[in-house]
């Protein structure tokens, strides 16, 4: 049976679309919507556990607010650099776009290095997920977030590797927007995790 109202498949700015929104972008937003549910479940569980616990143990001085602040600045900075990469790409300034993208991956890597230093400091003090409910939540929330940061870095490097020449860039640059959407989402998650875990 023919679908009389179905929008015809076509292209938009060189990328395929069936809905008026580029397919890749629509897919990424749907994926991010599911990711919002995932992290809200984790953060919601943390908040409910914390509010219902009669004596919340807390980090007891084992979390370094300074390191958390630097990590937040790194992620905010990387959000700026990846959006500047996209802007440069739209101006057809390929080498500039690639430079901003590489800087984004480096800033994300810096975040993971600092997180690794924090983890090793905790483990050297025998602070593990089983220590108490706070550390179970801490390792779960930051662990899943860290995996998402790692995924974002790999995504950025993948885009970088596929855009080495100008001709390939013209065909692949829409992926940069998708990588940017994912990266900004990872930044937003940390914007909430940082105060919840480090500040209160």
């Amino acid at each position: 049976m023919a679908h009389a109202h179905a929008a015809p498949a076509g292209t938009m700015h060189g990328v395929s679309t069936s809905t008026g929104v580029p397919n890749g972008k629509l897919g990424m937003w749907l994926f991010l919507a599911s990711e919002v549910m995932f992290f809200t479940g984790l953060i919601g569980a943390y908040i409910i556990l914390r509010m219902s616990h009669p004596q919340w143990p807390g980090p007891e001085g084992h979390l370094n607010v300074g390191m958390g602040t630097i990590n937040t600045l790194l992620l905010i900075g990387s959000s700026v650099t990846i959006v500047l990469a996209l802007a440069a790409s739209q101006r057809e300034e390929i080498s500039s776009a690639r430079g901003w993208l590489l800087l984004t991956a480096l800033l994300g890597s810096g975040f993971l290095v600092i997180k690794g230093i924090e983890y090793s400091a905790k483990l050297s003090h025998h602070i593990v997920p089983g220590t108490n409910i706070f550390w179970a939540c801490y390792y779960t929330l930051t662990g899943f977030h860290g995996l998402h940061v790692l995924g974002g870095i790999l995504f950025n490097l993948f885009v970088l590797s596929r855009t080495a020449s100008a001709s390939v860039w013209a065909d692949q640059r829409h992926r940069l927007e998708l990588a940017g959407l994912y990266w900004h989402f990872v930044d937003i998650v940390w914007i909430f995790l940082f105060p919840l875990l480090y500040l209160f």
């Binding site: 929104v21 959000s79 700026v80 209160f200």
Partner: protein, 95 residues
């Protein structure tokens, strides 16, 4: 609508500034600020919501992209509101 490079950088500075304000407020709680802890928590999480909004609207281009994407972004929050409603209503209902 094309957002200028300068706007992106200015928003980044705002994000960093609001984050540092949250750190200062949390460090000052119980000390120089005559506010209860829950008040500081509310303010700092409010600042986080503003920051998330800035990122979504300007960096993820929700304010200029197709409206359907904004609706997709809002769907999980409707579901979350429903889930929260069930959680908190169950706290008052004993079968």
């Amino acid at each position: 609508m094309q957002i200028s490079q300068r706007t992106y950088v200015v928003i980044g500075i705002w994000l960093a500034g609001l984050m540092l304000l949250g750190v200062v407020l949390s460090e000052a709680s119980g000390g120089i600020l005559p506010l209860p802890k829950w008040g500081i928590v509310t303010i700092v999480l409010g600042l986080s919501t503003v920051k998330a909004g800035l990122v979504a609207l300007y960096y993820m281009h929700l304010q200029s992209d197709q409206r359907v994407l904004a609706w997709i972004a809002l769907v999980p929050f409707v579901l979350i509101a429903l889930a929260l409603g069930v959680v908190f209503s169950s706290a008052f209902v004993r079968l």
